[in-house]
C-alpha cells in the first residue's frame, strides 16, 4: 500500500489463503488525527479505490500514531 503520510505505518494481512480477495489492514497515520472513524475509513478506501474493486472482503483498523503507541 502507498503510504498516506510520511509518518505512517501500514500492515496488510492476506486472509484469503492466497486467492487475494480477502484482506485486513492496519493503518497508522497522523493524518487520522481529529478525524472520525468514518472519515478515516473513507480516506483509506479512496487510496485503495482501484484495488477494492477486486477485493471481496476488506477489514480495516485506522489509528493515529498516538493511539497505536497506547495499544502496543
Amino acid at each position: 500500500m502507498d503510504p498516506i503520510h510520511e509518518n505512517s505505518l501500514s500492515e496488510v494481512t492476506d486472509e484469503s489463503d492466497g486467492c487475494g480477495a480477502k484482506f485486513s489492514v492496519l493503518v497508522v497515520s497522523d493524518k487520522f488525527q481529529g478525524k472520525p472513524l468514518l472519515a478515516r475509513h473513507r480516506l483509506v478506501n479512496s487510496v485503495l479505490q482501484e484495488e477494492l474493486k477486486t477485493i471481496h472482503a476488506f477489514t480495516q483498523k485506522t489509528l493515529t500514531v498516538e493511539q497505536w503507541k497506547a495499544q502496543s
Binding site: L37, L38, H41, R42, N45, Q49, L52, K53, A57, F58, T59, Q60, K61
Partner: protein, 148 residues
C-alpha cells in the same frame, strides 16, 4: 390514455431535472434507496436476511443489532442487483453491509464493531430515540450503579 402517459412520463421528467448528469436507471435506484433509508430510524443493507445472513460481516452487524435490541429494517442486496450496486454508489462505500441511522450512512461492519466497543453506538441510538438493551441491562444491574 392521456392519464397513462402522464403517469409514466412525469416521474422520468422529474428525475431528469434532479439528476441530469446521471442515467435514468441510476436516478431511479437512488430515489428508491433514498426512500428505503428514510423509512426507518435504523436501516441495514446486508447479504441474506437477519435470520440467515449469508456473509460473516453481515452476520456481525446482525449480532450487534441483536445485542442492543435495535428495531431495524433490513434489505438483502443479493435479492436485487440494482440495490447491490446502487447502495455502494449512494453512500460512496465499497462494501456490504451498510448501516444507516436517521437516513445517514454510519458505516460498515468494522465501524459498527468499533462503535459498539467504544460505546458510541449507544449514544448514536440515543440520539434517534432508541434505548440500547445494553444500557437498560446496565441500569438494572446494581454493580454498574456503584460504578457511577
Amino acid at each position: 390514455m392521456n392519464n397513462l402517459l402522464r403517469r409514466n412520463l412525469l416521474p422520468i421528467y422529474n428525475n431528469a431535472i434532479k439528476l441530469t448528469y446521471r442515467p435514468f436507471a441510476d436516478a431511479a435506484t437512488k430515489e428508491k434507496i433514498d426512500k428505503i433509508v428514510k423509512n426507518n430510524k435504523v436501516v441495514v443493507f446486508m447479504k441474506g436476511v437477519p435470520d440467515a445472513p449469508r456473509c460473516g460481516f453481515s452476520n456481525a452487524v446482525v449480532q450487534i443489532m441483536r445485542m442492543h435490541a435495535v428495531p431495524y429494517d433490513s434489505h438483502d442486496v443479493l435479492a436485487d442487483e440494482n440495490i447491490r450496486q446502487g447502495i455502494k454508489d449512494y453512500s460512496n462505500w465499497p462494501t456490504i453491509p451498510q448501516v444507516f441511522i436517521n437516513g445517514e450512512f454510519v458505516g460498515g461492519c468494522d465501524i459498527m464493531l468499533q462503535m459498539h466497543q467504544s460505546g458510541e453506538l449507544v449514544e448514536e441510538l440515543k440520539k434517534v430515540g432508541i434505548k440500547s438493551a445494553l444500557l437498560t441491562a446496565a441500569e438494572e444491574s446494581p454493580k454498574s450503579e456503584e460504578k457511577k
